[in-house]
Every structure is written in C-alpha cells, then in structure tokens.
C-alpha cells in the first residue's frame, strides 16, 4: 500500500530538481495552463522546491472558474424550474452565481443531481420522459467529446427531453490571449496533457513560433510536472521555442481522431466570454444548428439575466497569471471557500482554492479557525 505511486518518487524528483538547478542561469516565468496542474503543484509543494529563478504562473485552465457568470445564472434559473432535472459535475455546485449557487437551488427544492458522465444524464432523461433533463456541459477539450457523444446519442435514440447548457472553451485561443496581453510575463507554457490527449499537439507549433515560447505538453503527477519544467527551462536557456511532448504515455501528436470527429459533428467554434478575463475570439464551442433542439439556451427562455460580479474579486487577474491569489486583498478574509467572491475560490481546480487549502500557513493570512478559543471548538462524531 502506498499513498503515491512511481510518479511521485522522491529520488527521481530530486534528480529532476538537481537538473533544473544545474540548468537555470537566470529568472524564467512558466505558466501551467491547467488548474489540475496548479493543484498538483501546490498540493505537493513543487513550487517550494524549485530554484528561485523558476517562477510558476497559474493559468486560466480551470473550466469551472472561467465559466461566465451569466451562464451560471442561466443554470441556476433552469435548475430551479419545476419539471427539470438539472445534472452537473460535482464541482459546479458551489460556484457562486449572482445571488446563489446550485447547492442553494437544490436545498430550496430544485432537482439538482451530480453525475459522473453526461451519459448518466442521458440515462436519466430516458427514465424520466415526463421531465426535462439538462446537463451542464462545461469544460475544455477534455470534456467536450463525451458531451458531444451524449447529445449525439440523444438524437440517435430520439430522446427529446435531453439538452445541454453549453459553455465549452478551447485552450489555444486562451494561450494566444495571454501572450498578446500587454502585461504578459509568460516565457514558456506547460500545456495540459489531457487536453492534448484529445486534440493532439498540432495546434501548438504555430503558437510556439509566433510568440517564441516553448510549449511542453505535461501531465499532472509531480514527476510529470517537474519533467515539463525541466524541458521548458532547458529550451529557454538554449533560446529555443519548440513544442515538446513530455506526456507521451497519454498524448499522441494527432490526438484522438474519433473524439475530434465527435466534437466536429456536434459543435462549432464560437466566440466565448471567459469569466474574469472577458471575450476571446473563437475560444469556445456551441451546438450546431442541427442540434439546436438539444440546446438548453434555445429550449428554455433564459434571456434577460442580469449579472453582477463582485467588484473586489481579482480572479480575472489570477486566471491571467498577473497576480498570485494571496495578492488579492479579499483572499482569506472576505473571500474564503465558504464565502467565495469568485469561482477560483471554490473550484477544485481553482488557484485561489489551492492557496487557501494548502498554503495558508506560509503564504496567506493565518486561518481564522486557528485563532478560535478552545471552548468554541466543535468536533463532530
């Protein structure tokens, strides 16, 4: 029995760290695109172990965090309607909308269900023909194929009471947006391995050339991340800017053609608004005209949503790598997982959540709980 496997071997990690230290001669700023990588970095303390010259900047790759507020509010409104079964992955339930979240809607009587696959939601639709089943289809290229498959199956099986509330986003346009931002400090990218396992690496060489940045496709275990950093630093020190695949056990250059075909059949590229960042051209997918019947926005009248973002929340700057979570004045005070001002504080992949959960002792304000007098403690059994 072991807690961590061979991708978390301390001896190999030390070797990689030694090599990074031996290679680096001056400061470099690398962005890990994916929120899963961010959590792995903070959870395992990888950033604490790197030489000072290597700075990790946390990127916008948390699909929960970048789902725009108006889509969250649409989800909340649809989920609260009688006759609707609203299905979502678990980590969307706590994401704050303008005045509530899906947990609240559930507590107030809405039929909100956590599913592990969109096909589970489709199954619910088949078993409840008198209800409208809506699946909250968010995420990057990773979740898009399964969501496309679900709606494709619904069409094939004639399941008319199944629809998707779609807010899919794409990584390459986000990288482009980051590189063209005036305050951009990013010199290299650790690309998200699971995105590339679907889409391949063919989308990246042009970006690497145009912006002269190394892009290393990287996995999520500690050694994956250290290897990605090692390769990126190596390129930077040599003045190179190539696409490298450091996650060959999962990623092929051409990706997964069947998954790509499924996406192409059901979705079309569209402009998307990213929460905290703003609109990015061609950065998302929506259902094509042919699948409009299964588009929840089309099926339910959810126009006229008024959204209000907390003005103090700096999640957008966190998502663009412009500040660390602890640089936001609301971090750990007004904004905690209990009272989130932004999605980055509640998502399981959010950078603010990672810092709050794992780093309060060293990087943030002392947790309020630790200052609680003893008699106020409430262990539960």
């Amino acid at each position: 029995m072991k807690y961590i496997d061979e991708f978390n071997d301390p001896a190999l990690a030390r070797r990689l760290l030694d090599e990074i230290r031996a290679t680096v001669t001056r400061p470099w700023a690398l962005m890990e695109v994916c929120g899963g990588q961010t959590h792995s970095i903070i959870r395992h303390g990888i950033d604490q172990l790197l030489p000072d010259e290597v700075e990790l900047i946390h990127g916008p790759g948390c699909p929960v965090c970048v789902t725009p507020l108006d889509v969250i509010d649409k989800a909340l409104e649809i989920a609260a309607r009688p006759g609707v079964i609203f299905c979502s992955f678990g980590d969307m339930l706590r994401v704050p909308g303008t005045d509530r979240d899906l947990f609240r809607v559930k507590g107030e009587g809405g039929d909100v269900r956590v599913v592990y696959s969109p096909l589970d939601a489709l199954d619910l639709a088949r078993k409840n023909p008198d209800r409208e089943v809506v699946f909250f289809a968010i995420g990057f290229e990773t979740t898009a194929p399964a969501n496309a498959m679900a709606v494709h199956q619904a069409r094939r099986l004639g399941v008319r009471n199944f629809s998707l509330l779609v807010s899919h986003v794409r990584v390459p346009p986000a990288i482009e947006a980051i590189m063209t931002a005036p305050a951009c400090r990013v010199q290299g990218f650790l690309a998200a391995g699971h995105v590339c396992s679907v889409m391949g690496t063919d989308e990246y060489p042009d970006l690497a050339d145009r912006y002269r940045v190394p892009i290393v496709v990287t996995g999520f275990e500690p050694l994956d991340i250290l290897e990605g950093i090692r390769r990126a630093v190596h390129q930077l020190e040599r003045g190179e800017h190539r696409v490298e695949n450091a996650y060959a056990r999962a990623v092929r250059d051409q990706g997964n053609p069947a998954a790509q075909r499924m996406i192409e059949e059901v979705f079309e590229v569209t402009d998307r608004n990213w929460r905290g960042i703003g609109p990015i051209p061609a950065s998302g997918w929506r259902l094509t005209e042919a699948f409009r019947d299964h588009d929840a926005e089309h099926r339910f009248d959810v126009t006229g949503i008024r959204t209000e973002e907390p003005a103090v929340c700096r999640a957008g700057e966190v998502l663009q790598g412009l500040i660390k979570p602890t640089e936001c004045e609301a971090f750990g005070t007004a904004c905690t997982p209990r009272t989130p001002l932004g999605a980055t504080m509640v998502s399981s992949e959010g950078a603010c959540a990672a810092y709050y959960l794992y780093r309060r002792m060293t990087d943030g304000p002392a947790p309020r709980e630790s200052r609680v007098p003893q008699e106020e403690m409430n262990p539960v059994g």
């Binding site: 704050p96 997982p337 009272t339 780093r359 309020r368 262990p379 539960v380």
Partner: protein, 362 residues
C-alpha cells in the same frame, strides 16, 4: 467552529462581509444543504449555531464522540448516532452493521467498554419486510460480535416518499474504566499519531455501489467494532490521550478537530499514511482526497511518545489493528492546524473540509 460567528459578528481587523457591497453567495445558508451532514465545517457550524445554544450544558460542550457521565461513582459513556446510508447493503457491510459499529465505536473512543444499545427504526411505507429482517439480523450479528446487548428499541413508519427506505438510529452506553481519560483536549506536543489501518475503504466502497462506479476491483467497507482494539491498547497503558474514529470527513477532519480542541498542531508524513491502491485510484479518478474519505472501522490515536511502540505492537496483534502505523506527531508549531509533509519534501495544510467533497469535472 466559530468561523461564521467570527465573520458575522465582525472581527475588527477583517473585512466584514455583512457590509460587503458585492453579492457574497453562501455567506449565510438559510436552508439545510447536504454539506451540513458531511462532517466538515458546515456540520460543526450547525452544532454550534443551532444545537449547542439550545441545549447548552457542560457535558455537551465537550463535544466528544460520546459523553462521559459521572453516575453514582461509575463513569458512563453515552452516545447516539443516526444512519441513513444508501444503498442499504454494500460490499463489506450493511446499514445494520453500521448502526451497531457506529455507536459502539463512538463509545470506544472514550475508552468505554460498550454494553447496551437501543435501536430506533424509521421505515418507509412500501419497504419489503425481508429487507427490514435482513437489517435486523445484521444488527443482531454485529451486536454479538461487538459484545453488546440490544436492550430496547422503537419503530416508526412514514408514508411512501417521505423516507429513503430505512433509517436506523442507535444509542448506546458503556462503562469507562477508572483512570482512563480520553478526549481530544488531551493531545500534547510529542504525542505519536497512530492510525489503526488503511484509510478510505468505506467511503470508496459506498461511492462505488451508490454511483454505479466500478474501479476494476471490488472495494469492501472497513466497517468493524473497535472496542476490542481499544481495550487491547488500554491494556498496555491507560495513558492514551486521544481516540477518534475518522468517519464522515475522514482522517483529515478528525485530525483538525483534535488539533483545534487541544490547541496543538499535527504534522503528518504523507508517505506514511496507509492508503490502499484501490482507494488511491478511485480518488484520483474522482478528484477526491483520501484524507477526507469516510472510514467506519478505523481509529486514530494520540499516544505519549514513550508508550507509542508498545501501543503499536498491541494494536498490530489485534485483528482490527494489523495495519496500525505511526503517521505523524503532535507538535507545538502551527497550533490548531494540520500540516502534511509531502512525499517530495514540500508542505501543505490539511484543512477541515467545508462540507462534502465534490467529484471534479476532469
């Protein structure tokens, strides 16, 4: 948990969310959400804000797994627990086993020798009597295995649609031996932190059947009575400082509760925490942390350092403690907090979870 109280009453040095001009969702929960039953911060808040003020008394204020009452010279441990698990039967156990073991273990965590239980059934109209009979038989068998007598009970029936099949509430009593004083407030810097075996099996077993997830191998719940193991530990030394069965909220929540109650810090060594491969894989798949996954047949003990080796040996000699291992120690630093040394040499905080863990998107 004075978290909410601190925030709404207005800590002078912090931003008061009550004055916040922007919407701060979830600042207050006007309704019960599932997280209130998750064994994390929301559960603790419910107790502090709703139950403790209504009942307020010194015995309850200790908020241990079981209350220890001085009755005519004898010290009686007393505990109650409701069980609402779905499905009613799962790999490694059933609602009946849990109903017995849950209360037996809460009593044992005070060092008590459990003697008598009550059971109260809430049955939903339409449930097959065969199901009720099977649960009753499981309760009988589990009680015999734990050496306790089911001495009294109650049955209620609710209309169809007003329950979830069968709920069982058990209460139990037991006697605490002279000289034994086990409670979270007694954790001391230097104490060895011992867990009795691999963690996370119960929670993953329930998830695998409830959500229809299959992880390649069948994962069985660890549900088991722990009073015998505790007796074996106390036979070595009565100076066991703290015992806790890390049920809802898992090892992470239990250690946080102990750290906060005692005002000490807890330092865990990540690589020492025994997590079975199947739990690692299931948690990896779902994006959950094994430290927060429920157990029903494990305990965590805080033991003075000079007693640790002997206690560990006694635990390993007992069938419920063969996998016992030291996972960390109690420290002066970071009082009230649990910090884990990662396998790579970094550190991170292990916080009390807010409510239930949520499976991630990808």
């Amino acid at each position: 948990m004075a978290d909410l109280a601190t925030e709404t009453a207005g800590a002078a040095d912090a931003v008061d969310p009550a004055d916040w001009t922007c919407p701060a969702p979830l600042r207050d929960q006007p309704v019960v959400v599932m997280g209130h039953g998750g064994g994390g911060a929301l559960s603790a808040e419910l107790i502090e804000q709703v139950f403790a003020p209504a009942y307020g008394n010194p015995t309850l204020a200790a908020l241990t797994d079981s209350a220890v009452l001085d009755l005519g010279g004898a010290r009686l441990a007393f505990s109650t627990d409701s069980h609402v698990v779905r499905p009613l039967f799962f790999p490694g156990g059933s609602l009946g086993d849990l109903a017995v073991n849950g209360t037996v273990n809460d009593l044992a965590m005070s060092g008590a020798v459990p003697t008598h239980l009550s059971t109260a059934f809430v049955l939903e109209e339409g449930v097959e009597l065969a199901v009720v009979g099977r649960i009753a038989r499981d309760i009988g068998a589990a009680a015999r295995a734990a050496g306790v007598v089911v001495a009294t009970g109650d049955t209620k029936v609710v209309e169809s649609g007003h329950g979830d099949g069968v709920y069982v509430t058990t209460a139990g009593v037991g006697l605490v031996p002279d000289g034994v004083d086990i409670r979270p407030q007694r954790a001391r810097p230097g104490d060895a932190v011992i867990v009795s075996g691999p963690i996370g099996l119960h929670g993953v077993a329930i998830m695998s059947v409830r959500e229809g997830l299959e992880f390649g191998v069948e994962i069985a719940s660890d549900t088991a009575p722990l009073a015998g193991l505790v007796a074996a530990m106390l036979a070595v030394t009565q100076d066991v400082h703290v015992l806790r069965d890390p049920t809802r909220g898992g090892l992470g929540a239990s250690l946080n509760e102990i750290a906060r109650a005692s005002g000490t810090g807890v330092r865990l060594r990540e690589r020492a925490v025994p997590v079975p491969d199947e739990v690692v894989n299931a948690c990896g798949f779902l994006g959950l942390d094994p430290l927060y996954v429920a157990n029903e047949g494990r305990l965590v003990a805080f033991v003075p350092p000079h007693e640790a080796e002997a206690v560990l040996a006694a635990m390993r000699a007992h069938p419920q403690g063969t996998g016992a291992t030291v996972v960390g120690e109690c420290v002066d630093e970071h009082p009230g907090m649990v910090v884990v040394a990662t396998g790579l040499g970094g550190t991170r905080v292990v916080d009390l979870p807010l409510g239930e863990q949520l499976p991630r998107i990808c």
